[in-house]
């Protein structure tokens, strides 16, 4: 599979490490070239692109055309939602997932516009409640 990952923070790096190899072609985009310094040493078969994930030219350079999976995992909710909609609506990528920290925004875009979102805030809150033994 060809997988485009936006953001090489903790989540992006972990996913890239899990997916690279295994016949997957992984491209990681980050606006900060320094962010690659660490993962470049461990992820030898991934490709790294420096640029803004909301810029369509950068996404094209990263090979969004013909990608199977698009993951928007930066720290910026709006940038993630925006680039996911570019991937879904303009490039017709079948599997698009966006990380959205704000639960209200995550729910709105999931329920009304069919975007697949993962809300870290909800997940963490659920985990904490679970560990506390409350519902």
């Amino acid at each position: 599979m060809k997988i485009v990952i936006c953001g090489s923070g903790k989540v992006g790096t972990k996913i890239a490490e899990a997916l690279s190899g295994q016949n997957n072609e992984v491209v990681v985009i980050d606006r900060d070239a320094d962010a690659f310094r660490q993962i470049e040493t461990t992820l030898t078969d991934a490709q790294f692109i420096t640029g803004d994930i909301t810029d369509q030219d950068v996404l094209v350079k990263a090979g969004i055309e013909g990608a199977d999976v698009f993951l928007a995992l930066t720290n910026d909710d709006n940038a993630n939602i925006f680039s996911s909609q570019i991937a879904k609506e303009l490039f017709k990528i079948k599997k698009v997932i966006a990380c959205v920290k704000d639960p209200v925004r995550a729910k709105a875009f999931t329920d009304e516009l069919g975007l697949v979102t993962v809300c870290g805030t909800d997940l963490i809150a659920d985990q904490i409640k679970k560990k506390m033994g409350v519902k």
Binding site: D77, N78, F82, Q85, I86, E89, R105
Partner: protein, 214 residues
């Protein structure tokens, strides 16, 4: 009319001032605290501090009763998401977004933003006009239609011809010409002059054909 303006940079600030002067009710939303504090002296309670892509901030600004929301931020991801949130959560009847990167205009229109204002193209057009190059710029777009401005360069084939003799692209109408700052509404027998600035109603397909014709 009650209008929410998000982003109080130069565009948002001047728009808010203009609308207030015309008697409209305005809520101006700014997410930068120091900028907000400066504006609060001038606009009082009409300026709201917060991130407008946050539903709570939109509610504070009065999104549940506003008739129009205009998002004027300098980055397109904020403008798109703010307009979408306003529509999804507060059913704001009309949204207008500033588009900074011309490549994003198609996306905005496709995702249901009612109108876009492409500031980059407008500025390019104005500068193109000043340096006198043949230039087509989109001034306004809505659904599939757009209003464009096109300069007639020296030596163009259409110079000296009446409008009715031109073979215009499908669904394209020449509305007005601006010559030496005089605006003239175009009729069938109006003659096109060199350095005219023509205002036309067209669509994406017509735009390219129009550029070739002029």
């Amino acid at each position: 009319m009650f209008v929410i303006i998000t982003g109080a940079g130069r565009v948002g600030y001047n728009l808010a001032k203009g609308l207030i002067a015309e008697g409209h009710e305005v809520a101006l939303v700014e997410k930068d605290k120091s900028r907000y504090q400066i504006l609060a002296d001038e606009f009082g309670e009409s300026v709201i501090y917060g991130d407008a892509s946050d539903a709570f901030t939109l509610k504070q600004a009065g999104a549940n009763r506003c008739e129009l929301l205009v998002s004027t931020a300098g980055n397109d991801e904020d403008n798109l998401v703010i307009c979408q949130m306003a529509k999804i959560i507060y059913m704001v009847p009309k949204t207008i977004a500033r588009v900074n990167d011309p490549k994003n205009e198609v996306l905005f229109t496709k995702l249901g933003i009612d109108q876009t204002v492409n500031t980059t193209n407008m500025i390019s057009a104005l500068i193109g006009h000043k340096v006198g190059t043949g230039f087509l710029a989109e001034l306004l777009s809505f659904q599939n239609a757009e209003i464009v401005q096109i300069e007639v360069p020296e030596g163009s084939d259409v110079i000296g011809k009446p409008i009715k003799d031109l073979i215009l692209p499908k669904d394209t109408l020449l509305i007005a010409s601006i010559h030496n700052e005089q605006v003239q509404v175009l009729k069938g027998d109006s003659i096109i002059l060199a350095n005219d600035s023509l205002i036309a109603l067209t669509n994406k397909a017509g735009e390219e054909a129009l550029r070739k014709l002029i």
